[in-house]
Symmetry: C2
Subunit: 276 residues, 2 copies
């Protein structure tokens, strides 16, 4: 009975829920739409309370729970935490306490980095809160105790991306300032531990050189989601382009420009909601 | 009767309330403590919901009202909006609807700039939301219709100050990027329209040259507050050092370091509160 229920179209056509503190999570949505084009997606960007990366774990957990409750009202079949700060502060709680598949961005990126790396010398760059949480270090060490992990917080990268300075000299100078000290660690792999960072990947690669493999969480997260949905009988595959509905808790001034940069397509279906 | 009530010590010894989206407002507190050392001050920094500068006016207004309600519970005798984004979005509403003196940071800085400027060629640098609100332009034009006002948003200045990069080459490069185009305007005066900016005043002065007078709102705001308190019979002067109590709605990672940089003294009496 469970089986026929799982594979019933009524169940599996429900949307995938994705949330982030802002718009960076749209880099993950982009990959989900590439991998699972038929799926409908409901995205929630908590612009009114962003950024999460400078806040306490307790606060981030509270916000994350509220975001999931909002997505549940939209009848999502799974939740993707498309935010590193939320993933580090709330993934365990959400996975344990909600009765639906929950995917974060940290575990898939960490596992991907381990697969890609022979020497297991892995760098992680992220916001202050993600670095302080040691979330990447813990998971990399758990899965591969011999791994050497080198972390650096890069607080200016998010405002830099939001400002749209992707290929300026100043961008490269700032990237160099944060990453040059990492060169001595002889990294094999670098994890971009923030969903904003893929947009300055070029500058990062130029500074670190071609020997370092740079990994962002978007693709591994989409793959992890696909395999979980498949396993649970929730995957919806069809010859159609799924709908993407975007909710935000506030409108920032240059929302559309920034959002389309992350998503790589036009923002069409957009609505402001006020969370309690 | 009104008169004796106004000058009664019981009334005037109540604290002054100051709020900001974060810690930048402590630059204003610093000047208030310099000018009115005997006064007690209750400060509220809404770290949980900062930064305001990227949010909508409606959102900023709602937050500002909640902040004033919090300060009123602390029995403040006056409120200082030590935040430009709040000042532009909420000053009129707060002044009209609350029954106590309210001082913002925009009007005092604008009036000071007009007093200091003969040619009335005035530059304003601020966050995106303050620039978009045209708050400085409106008030400068109202008080001096012949004034020429040139605005520029500098979104990276706040994260730069929070990161503590005050005298780095990169700081000067970023300042140069935003301010070089303003040189052609032959400014006589530049208003720092954000309470974070005084901390990179040196770099700003170096880029603009010594002919431009740079004004920040802290001192004129403290003076405006003093004259309002005096007028209302609420001023408290005595041979004592007033108490500074700081409430924040969350703890950011490097709160103490950043806060002490703004305040210019040790943060002693600090408490976290959760607003509803």
């Amino acid at each position: 009975m469970g089986k026929s229920l799982h594979s019933s179209p009524a169940r599996s056509r429900r949307p995938i829920g994705v949330f982030d503190s802002g718009l960076g999570g749209l880099t993950v949505v982009r990959e989900i739409r590439r991998l699972l084009p038929a799926e409908d997606i409901v995205y929630f960007g908590d612009i009114a309370r962003q950024p999460y990366g400078i806040k306490s774990n307790e606060q981030i957990l509270r916000y994350s729970i509220e975001n999931v409750l909002f997505l549940l009202k939209k009848k999502v079949k799974a939740v993707v935490i498309a935010c590193n700060s939320s993933s580090s502060a709330a993934f365990d709680f959400l996975r344990r306490n909600f009765n639906l598949p929950v995917v974060d961005v940290i575990e898939p990126a960490a596992q991907c980095a381990l697969r890609m790396s022979r020497s297991k010398r892995i760098g992680v760059i992220a916001t202050t809160s993600t670095v302080a949480s040691h979330a990447y270090v813990k998971i990399l060490k758990r899965e591969s105790p011999s791994a050497r992990v080198f972390q650096t917080a890069c607080p200016l990268f998010v405002p830099l991306v939001e400002e749209g300075w992707r290929e300026k000299k100043i961008t490269e100078a700032i990237v160099r300032h944060y990453l040059s000290p990492m060169k001595k660690n002889r990294l094999e792999t670098l994890i971009l531990g923030c969903t904003h960072y893929p947009l300055i990947k070029n500058a990062i690669c130029r500074v670190l050189g071609r020997s370092v493999r740079v990994i962002d969480s978007a693709k591994p997260t989409a793959e992890k989601l696909a395999s979980l949905l498949l396993e649970k009988g929730l995957l919806y595959a069809a010859e159609r382009r799924g709908r993407l509905k975007i909710y935000v808790s506030d409108l920032s001034r240059n929302f559309v420009k920034v959002g389309e940069r992350f998503l790589g397509e036009k923002l069409r279906d957009l609505e402001i909601v006020r969370l309690k």
